[in-house]
Amino acid sequence: MPIETAPGLEAGVLLASILFCLGLAGLMMRRNVIFMLMSVEICTNAAALMFVVAGAHWGNADGQVMFIFVVTLAAAEVAIALALVLQFYHRKHTVDIDQLNELRG
């Protein structure tokens, strides 16, 4: 069932790109690990958005299926990430990612 007058694929791609880049920017500029995780989610979400838009464009379900997988991944990843963040906070009593620089050189 085609939907009329929907915004173009290009618009979707643009939006996803903008969101992705915002996520990337957030990832690079925030020192708080929680914020970084949020930024990662923004990036992942941007990719997910692309899938759905492209799926709609081509009219097949693959896009949404991939969306579901991406969401699954995001959930599992966040679970592990948060567990690590907790351990990090317990040991270092900070959420500053810059404190995590013992390994270098």
Binding site: D62, M66, A81, Q87, I97, E102
Partner: protein
């Protein structure tokens, strides 16, 4: 999905079943040895099933398509076999590592058994990735490896038995890898989405059928491929996406390091071979140029970084960067069977050697740890010579533990590509491939890189044969390595020498499978 299709993915099924069984086993009866046994059994069964599936691939049936998602063929089965064998080795390394650091009774809340579950999960991901013929399975396989790796990298965090510094480093490596890998995944996903936008399909075959149209019509597709390539390059730690490698390798428990360095890369290479072959991307000059630049940069930067490195795990990490660079040279000649053969041979060489290297490093550290736990030596990490991951710890090792040191020397020589070792034959393949492709600049890069590489391999090698100048350093004493570890190292060294001196055996296998 027919029975034939199901049987074709028997290795996957066996691994999955193994995971479930192990999960149940652990929930009812925790036991380190038991978990190890189940793991190894699962892996062995999977290996046997690989052979069995190969046996089915006779005559005109050279590959079996399992739904649209997976494709089983000779090359991928060989990769599977290789990685499963690697997993067996890693589980042995893991056993020795966990034996000392996890409390079997769980008093300090560190159970070793999860390691094996995660290992099998990673193997499932790896084999999925290898069989992948569809972006969904590619993505799931890749992420399965990553998700299993995060906790494995941070495995030492829980429990208080492992040394404090190890715990923190493990945590750090896990967080670093997680954040960077998540970004790379997102980028890769974005790339896949772009490819999907351009082609309307996630199936490699379907995309391949539209290739000519796609590559001419839009840059959307090319952008997607590039982003995907970046993501893959990250996993392969090609320069400039290599930067996580040393930190993660250093901080992680050594078996995990071995896993990430071998399985993590081997599976991706396997995927890349299939992906490039199916989509016939070797014709795309831009991609080839990108890979070539990344390869040269990897060889040079990897070796330059390793030059003055004193921490052996970091050193191996840097060297693995450069080795993947060499491998890409063989990869670039692409389509021909020779290219594939060269890539596989080099990969085998790389895996055997890297595994051996990390096995020695890990087992030496374990032996040292055991000495410390039994109170033979006080815990002093401040002195380099007391840090089991530091170069100085290996000073005069040949005189203290001749066999161990000889094996390690063989590994180092193999890494440096010296004859009598498998690394030499691998390098020979790279050179032959480079000559065949007439990629002189890349070959120049290989030569320069190898020359740089010699410096640090040799320095480590020569430190092992140095006489002890002072009695102080002598106190490290003899290192006694667990029997399973000895067996592992001996096997790897044996393979390294066997395939180095009689490469035809391995070549026959590669071509037969």
């Amino acid at each position: 999905m027919s029975a034939q299709e199901l049987l074709a993915i028997l290795p996957l099924l066996i691994i999955s079943a193994g995971i479930v069984i192990l999960l149940l086993q652990v929930s009812f009866w925790r036991g380190h040895r038991g978990a190890l046994a189940t793991t190894i059994l699962t892996l062995l069964l999977a290996i046997i099933s690989c052979f069995w599936v190969t046996g089915n691939l006779l005559g005109d049936v050279s590959s079996i398509q399992v739904t649209a998602l997976l494709l089983v063929d000779h090359t991928s089965l060989f990769f599977c076999l290789l990685l499963f064998l690697t997993a067996v080795a890693i589980s042995i390394m893991g056993f020795n590592y966990l034996r000392l650091r996890c409390d079997p009774r769980g008093v300090s809340a560190s159970y070793p058994e999860e390691f094996y579950i995660l290992l099998l999960l990673a193997m499932l991901g790896a084999s999925t990735l290898i069989f992948a013929n569809h972006f969904a399975t590619f993505f799931l396989g890749l992420e399965l490896i990553s998700l299993a790796l995060y906790p494995m990298l941070g495995f030492a965090v829980t429990g208080e038995i492992s040394p404090k510094s190890e715990q923190l480093q493990s945590l750090e490596s896990a967080i670093k890898y997680l954040i960077l890998s998540a970004l790379s995944t997102a980028l890769g996903l974005f790339g896949i989405a772009l490819i999907y936008s351009a082609s309307g399909s996630l199936d490699f075959n379907a995309i391949a059928s539209r290739m000519t149209e796609l590559s001419q019509s839009s840059t959307l597709f090319a952008t997607g491929i590039t982003l995907l390539l970046i993501s893959v390059a990250f996993k392969l730690s090609l320069v400039p996406f290599h930067i996580w490698t040393p930190d993660v390798y250093q901080g992680a428990p050594t078996p995990t390091t071995a896993l990430i360095a071998t399985v993590g890369k081997g599976a991706v290479i396997g995927f890349l071979l299939r992906f490039f072959n199916t989509l016939d991307l070797f014709g795309s000059e831009v991609l080839i140029d990108m890979l070539a630049i990344a390869a040269i940069a990897s060889m040079l930067v990897g070796n330059l970084l390793a030059l003055m490195q004193a921490n052996i795990k970091r050193l191996l990490a840097y060297s693995s960067i450069s080795h993947i660079g060499y491998l890409i040279v063989a990869f670039l000649i692409g389509k021909s069977t020779f290219g594939t053969e060269a890539v596989i041979y080099y990969l085998v060489a790389y895996i055997v050697t890297t595994l051996g290297g990390f096995a020695v490093v890990g087992l030496v550290a374990d032996a040292n740890e055991e000495n410390m736990l039994s109170g033979k030596h006080p815990q002093e990490f401040l002195i380099d010579a007391k840090n089991p991951y530091h170069r100085e710890f290996y000073r005069g090792l040949l005189w203290r533990s001749p066999w161990l040191a000889s094996c390690f020397a063989a590994m180092l020589l193999s890494l440096a590509g010296i004859p009598l070792t498998i690394g030499f034959i691998g390098k020979f393949y790279v050179f032959t491939a480079g000559v065949e492709g007439q990629m002189w600049i890349l070959l120049g890069g290989v030569v320069v890189g190898s020359a740089l590489g010699l410096f640090y391999y040799l320095r480590l090698l020569l430190i092992m044969v140095q006489r002890n100048e002072t009695a102080e350093t002598n106190s490290n004493g003899t290192l006694v390595i667990a029997t399973s570890g000895q067996f592992l190292i001996a096997t790897l060294t044996g393979a390294l020498l066997l395939f180095g001196i009689f490469p035809q055996i391995l070549i026959n296998w590669i071509n037969a499978l």
